[in-house]
Amino acid sequence: MLRFALLRILSAIPTLLLVIVLAFLMVHAAPGGPFDDERVLPPENARNIAAAYHLDESLPRQFGRYLSGLIRGDLGPSYHYRDHSVAELIGAALPLSLRLGLLSITLALLVGIAAGVFAAVNNNTATDRLVTGLAMIGISIPVFVVAPLLVLVFAVQLGWLPASWSGGDAGWRLLLPVVALALPQIAYVTRLTRTGMIDALSSDFVRTARAQGLGLLSIVRFHALKPALLPVVSYLGPAIAAVVTGAVIVETIFGIPGLGQLFVRGALNRDYTLVLGIVVFCAAVIILLNLLVDLLYGFLDPRIRQP
């Protein structure tokens, strides 16, 4: 198992390198630069600033400089937020994004698995169709519609919850963003669980268990749940990566200073090092999560553990 994990980590290095090269070329290819503004700098000032950030060097040299910093664990200074390093900016945004992402994934799993199992057990009844119908709606309504609606109803009309991240009671301010972010995930998890559970319930070992007189609850709990959740687990890796790093819209609507917002502002400001830093960081996270999912798969499905 250890060897398997190590091999997977090593094989991730070329992938990561490719991501860095592509991201580096793309940010530099975008028109404009980090210090461009309607107020164009006189040539002497522009030269001084370019020199201070090594932007006057050739692209391969700049890339070499960036890579050697990266190997030493240095993501460089931000070009826009000139008092801060990229690592500091990511460090400030990450805990929030993690909390938001993990909470919404937890919520999605709790609600989604319960709803999925419920629908599968009541397969082909009106309840099943209601649950799958709701899940379909959850998938198809985009978050930029759902989130402002939640704000409008719960914050503005009812006044129960704060409208934004920085407002109101600290304990409650995450509730709306977590729900908004979790809704589509709940829908996916419900559908995956339902399909997995229907498959599991119709398999031979469940039929045997049933023949032995086991009740439906214990069958689901002890026999069917594990295999039914396999598709959910494989979906979990990309899902966590998506909610942690890609919550841009939810972060914007609720004014949460997380990674997604930082990335978008970095791109608009042409903050080369910030954009690159976040790309590298997210790529590493996604690779790591996929690895974790593979390991978890081995735990859930004994057949995979066999060499």
């Binding site: 000139r82 945004a93 409208a163």
Partner: protein
């Protein structure tokens, strides 16, 4: 409660509560309260020499203090300097610093501190955006270009509290320039000790009314009264928090929920309703910022065709644009320099006084004279950066040009940086949207943009007579003479129509009735030290 105006009963209850506090505390303003201000975007830096955004400036004006400053109404007053003499036909300045002025660590603020800071500003290694604003100080230009050492800058300390500055030419707005945060002193010892990180909470030593206690990235900057500040007695609020709020709609919600006392902006979609609901809290004031459409004068059809440019300008119904499209109290622009600029009485387009119908007739005449008409229609592109407001204005102008002149304008929407690089390249642009925000309260900050060699001149406008008028103005030591040259330069500029000024921006804030001491001014500077909070 968000989104709900207070009921009368609540207001009454608050009033009773107020009276209760007043009767025990003697009616003094609430100094223990925290002033909560909306800031807009995250300040990119609090280092005076590295920042450039208005947001950073708003925070920095609370932290530091230059030789001069402004009152709440925008009048120039001595701050770190108690007074000055001007000699040598406006080229020599001698500032007398306040011996009682202190840094936030209790050390005296000396002339040497200013010398050090001015040198750091022009030092090429600092890579400051704003070093060009002191370009008129002797040798500054050569130092920025790396041709002379920083020690050659003509800023000298004479004793502990006398500072002498020599300029290359008379610069009447020099005293106004000194209010800019890039001219604030930095504390040498802490800078040398902490290096690049000196502008951080716990490290930054300031000489203004407040000192930095916290900076939560993406969320807020928190300031606390500087106990050592020379004018500390007149600072009313102990604690100020500048909140980062990128979305005006979110900011409005927070204001309504009582989380903010002052907003940085007002969302356009809520403006009309707010004017009904909270007229007394809405502060809309002219601002030194012009919204304009520029022409690319280096290529046809606009090169060498002032009649065409004039026709397009006259065909724009600015009254309709500001009344129906922007609708937040903006003023139609009939000149390049905004009204309200000190010591200046600008010229306006002659067609400013006509009715819109008469302007349309004139526009059609000029359009024909330019060689266009039904048999030779004009097809052009309007480029603007992604924004709802810009899009709506472009749509309106597109239809005005079509209706009045039969011009077919295609709208091209580009991301800001893409538009900027296109504007600078002058290859594909024809008509583009831009704006110019004055750096200081003087006509020069607007006129110098249009000089042939000005880096921010995106039109390619080049008129030797205009350049020479602006240059001659710079040589005058008498303000009246100088003003005459600047006004003449603007007249020439407007006649040439390299740009269509469309409207002058307004600054827009919601200010809670609890806030006292708020003054309206064209610079939109609102120092926290002038504000106080009445008890709730």
């Amino acid at each position: 409660m968000p989104g709900k105006p207070r009921s009368r009963w609540q207001t009454f209850a608050a009033l009773i509560a107020c009276l209760g506090i007043v009767s025990c505390s003697g009616g003094a303003p609430d100094t223990s309260a925290t002033l909560e201000r909306g800031l807009g975007a995250e300040p990119e830096s609090l280092d005076y020499h590295k920042a450039r955004s208005t947001e950073a400036g708003d925070v920095q004006r609370d932290l530091g203090e230059g030789l001069t400053g402004y009152t709440e109404d925008g009048d120039l007053v001595p701050r770190a300097a108690s007074g000055w003499q001007i000699s040598g036909e406006g080229r020599g300045f001698t500032f007398h610093l306040r011996p009682e002025a202190r840094w936030s660590n209790g050390e005296p603020v000396t002339a040497e501190d200013f010398v050090y800071s001015f040198r750091r500003l022009v030092d090429p290694a600092t890579a400051s955006f704003y070093s060009q604003s002191v370009i008129d100080i002797e040798n500054a230009r050569a130092i920025i270009a790396g041709e002379k050492p920083v020690e050659e800058l003509a800023v000298y300390a004479n004793g502990e509290f006398e500072l002498r500055i020599r300029l290359e030419r008379p610069t009447p707005y020099f005293l106004a320039l000194l209010t800019h945060p890039s001219m604030f002193p930095v504390h040498r010892k802490s800078l040398e000790q902490h290096g690049e990180q000196f502008a951080r909470p716990g490290k930054l030593v300031t000489n203004g009314a407040y000192t930095l206690v916290a900076w939560e990235l993406g969320s807020l900057v928190e300031l606390e009264r500087n106990q050592h500040y020379w004018d500390n007695a007149s600072t009313a609020v102990d604690r100020v928090r500048h909140h980062v709020v990128n979305e005006p709609a979110v900011e409005l919600n927070r204001y309504r929920a009582g989380e903010l006392h002052i907003t940085d902006n007002v969302p356009p979609e809520a403006f009309a309703r707010l004017r009904e609901e909270r007229p007394a809290e809405l502060r809309v004031v002219p601002y030194l910022d012009v919204y304009y459409y520029g022409f690319n004068l280096t290529k046809p059809p606009f090169r060498d065709n002032p009649d065409l440019r004039r026709a397009l300008s006259m065909a724009i119904d600015r009254q309709a644009l500001t009344g129906k499209v922007t609708g937040r109290g903006e003023a139609p622009a009939w000149s390049w320099v905004p009204p309200g600029v000190d010591n200046y009485d600008g010229w306006q387009f002659p067609y400013a006084s006509l009715s819109q119908e008469e302007r349309h007739r004139e526009a059609r005449r000029a359009f024909e004279k330019a060689g266009y008409g039904a048999d030779n229609p004009l097809e052009i592109e309007i480029r603007y950066n992604t924004s709802d407001t810009h899009q709506r204005i472009a749509l309106a102008i597109q239809s005005m040009w079509r209706n009045v002149l039969g011009v077919e304008a295609t709208l091209v929407n580009e991301e800001f940086q893409v538009l900027l690089s296109n504007m600078r390249a002058k290859e594909v642009t024809q008509v583009f949207r831009s704006s110019w925000l004055g750096d200081y309260n003087d006509a020069n900050t607007f006129l110098q943009v249009m000089l042939s060699d000005a880096p921010s001149n995106m039109t390619g406008y080049s008129n030797k007579d205009f350049d020479s008028l602006v240059a001659q103005a710079a040589e005058q030591s008498d303000p009246e003479d100088r003003r005459h040259f600047l006004e003449e330069a603007e007249r020439l500029l407007l006649t040439d129509h390299p740009v269509i000024p469309i409207y002058f921006y307004v600054s827009k804030h919601l200010v809670s009735p609890r806030v006292r001491g708020w003054g309206d001014n064209v610079l939109d500077y609102h120092y926290s030290q002038h504000l106080s909070l009445s008890a709730e």
